[in-house]
Amino acid sequence: MNDIVKIRRAVAPPVKELTVISGKGGTGKTSLVASFAALCRRSVLADCDVDAADLHLILEPRVVRRELFAGGKRARVKAGHCIACGKCEEVCRFDAIFFDGPGNGVLEKTFRVDPLACEGCGVCAWFCAEGAIEFGPVVNGEWFISETRFGPMVHAKLGIAEENSGKLVSAVRSNAKRIAEEHELNLVLIDGSPGIGCPVIASITGTNLVLVVTEPTLSGLHDLERVADLTRHFGVPALVCVNKWDLNPEVSERIEARACERGLGLAGRVRYNRAVTEAQIQRKSVVEYQQDGCATDVRAVWAIIEARLELRTETPPKGV
């Protein structure tokens, strides 16, 4: 790296990361992220919902680089080598060994590893006295660097019925951050996945801000509690946004009150509007599709996030 690049990087503002998650699925994470991308225009997008990615449907990325992802290993019985001693079945804890493999010339049946059940621990291969089990890296998916109308995007596709989504999330995130630094963009916008497990943890650890998108239902309230526990556990600050709030104003209020009690900030409410689905069908973000209605709410939410992340150098507007 030459000195000028080094100096420029040293004075450039640090790249911030915003992760949008929800606990409960289907609350509107991806729709909001697409709108934020349209409003920000100086961000790198990272779709970290790697096992059900949808952001590409709105942003229509043009893939410029494609990489295979090998996150784990897998065992496979080599044809003709297995003597059917059964040791592999004995040591496997994941019910991945089946006695229905092809014959070896002497025996009618041998053992077989079910690739979907295999956890990639390699214990069977280690203990196979015949050396009949191959154990090596396996491609779990692919990740991409793309260009979109709102800037660069890093996304991925986990292979069908594959594991290691957490590692793939980390790969997407680190590449998005690297691209942001190279292009001197100051924000990585991360679209997370539902739940509180491995891929969610990989998408929130060390992020600057988490936006929890919820909905005014008892499920939304219940799941928010667990997400609040999670962000506290990993020590990341979080804001809450109630999407479709007018479907049940009373529960919306309870969610916001509970969020405040739990020390989470509020990022505002977005009203229920069919335009969100209409926009999705037309492959647009809501703020591109309409000017008024819930697009106004989304812009207000974005203003709060922008201020909180201090993305602009001037002081945030009063009242935020």
């Binding site: 929800s22 606990g23 409960k24 699925g25 289907g26 609350t27 991806t30 790697v50 096992d51 059900a52 949808d54 449907l57 290993k73 040591v91 804890r93 994941f94 979907l116 059940a117 956890e119 990639g120 621990c121 390699g122 214990v123 280690w126 203990f127 986990l158 069908i160 019925a161 594959e162 594991e163 989504s165 957490g166 996945s193 539902p194 739940g195 509180i196 497990g197 491995c198 891929p199 969610v200 943890i201 909905e215 005014p216 239902t217 008892l218 499920s219 219940h222 799941d223 667990r226 526990d229 999670l230 556990h233 990993f234 479907l247 049940n248 529960v251 689905t277 999705q280 069908i281 492959r283």
Partner: protein
């Protein structure tokens, strides 16, 4: 009969369908068990409101090293694929959260210095919701791996005419663990571009697992017709179409069972239940190739 209710996309209505089916089937006199495998964000209890009769911690094994017997051979660190046990000069470090409980380290340890001990990773609760036998699991906050807990939740499911497995969203390990070993998978989707995209991924998953499946289109009439078109083109059975209805959404938001409040919804679900329990349903279509994947 064990039926899994799954979906690629979250929030399409898995829990609405699963809890209402359980309630309906029980009213029809079937013995029913409802098993909530969404251990990260379980919600079924909000609707079925079970009386929890047993709540116990459950966990997983991880290695504990008796340093006095350790000979520093390093084999444990060598066999471990997850960097959960690392052999350093004079010390063996264990990282329980990274451990997948394969047992490899204790098997290779010749001096027998490694013992597996239990670490709590969640809670298993069972109870009764009226006539419905209820089971769910709760993953502890900060735990990354839900699949092992899901396995234990499923193992705790009681025998019943109809076992309904409510799966988490997605298409990766937790979902695979939930639907594995079931007799049929109902994939719940909504007729939107996101819903269809994730349905295709879920179809890929159940086909790879060679499980018979069908599709439930929730909030029909809400988005477009692409989902129906996709199912027709690929010979996928549509088990039910549930029309978009604000009353169902309101009932759901309050934690109520929509079957009790919205007769039109109940009729659709009765149709779905009959389809699922019909042994003469058209043979499972598992081998049809999918050209546009």
């Amino acid at each position: 009969m064990k039926v899994a209710i799954a979906s690629g996309k979250g929030g399409t209505g898995k829990t609405i369908v699963a809890t209402n089916l359980a309630w309906l089937a029980a009213r029809n006199g079937q013995s029913v068990a409802y098993v909530d495998c969404d251990v990260e964000e379980p919600n079924g209890h909000l609707f079925l409101k079970p009386r929890i009769e047993s709540s116990r911690p459950i966990g997983r094994l991880y290695p504990w090293v008796d340093e006095s017997r350790c000979t520093q051979c390093g084999l444990c660190g060598e066999i471990c694929q997850y960097s959960a046990i690392v052999c350093l000069p004079g010390k063996v470090l264990v990282y329980p959260e990274l451990c997948h409980t394969c047992g490899g380290c204790s098997l290779v340890c010749r001096p027998g210095a490694i013992r597996e001990v239990l670490r709590e990773t969640g809670k298993l609760e069972t109870g009764l919701a009226g006539p419905v036998q209820f089971v769910h699991g709760l993953l502890n906050i900060g735990e990354a791996m839900s699949a092992p807990l899901i396995r234990q939740v499923k193992a705790a499911a009681p025998e019943a005419d109809l076992v309904i497995v409510d799966s988490p969203p997605g298409t990766s390990c937790p979902v695979i663990e939930s639907v594995r070993g079931t007799d049929f998978v109902a994939l719940v989707t909504e007729p939107t571009p996101f819903g269809l995209n994730d349905l295709k991924l879920a179809v890929g998953m159940v086909r790879a697992m060679k499980l018979p499946f069908g599709v439930v289109i929730n909030r029909a009439g809400f988005g477009d017709q692409e989902t129906q078109e996709y199912c027709r083109r690929h010979g996928i059975e549509i088990l039910a179409e549930i029309p978009d209805d604000r009353r169902v959404a309101e009932e759901y938001s309050r934690g109520g069972l929509a079957c009790k409040a919205v007769p039109e919804f109940r009729i659709r679900l009765e149709g779905l239940l009959a389809r699922l329990c019909d042994g003469n349903r058209t043979a499972p279509r598992v081998a049809t190739p999918e050209p546009d994947r």
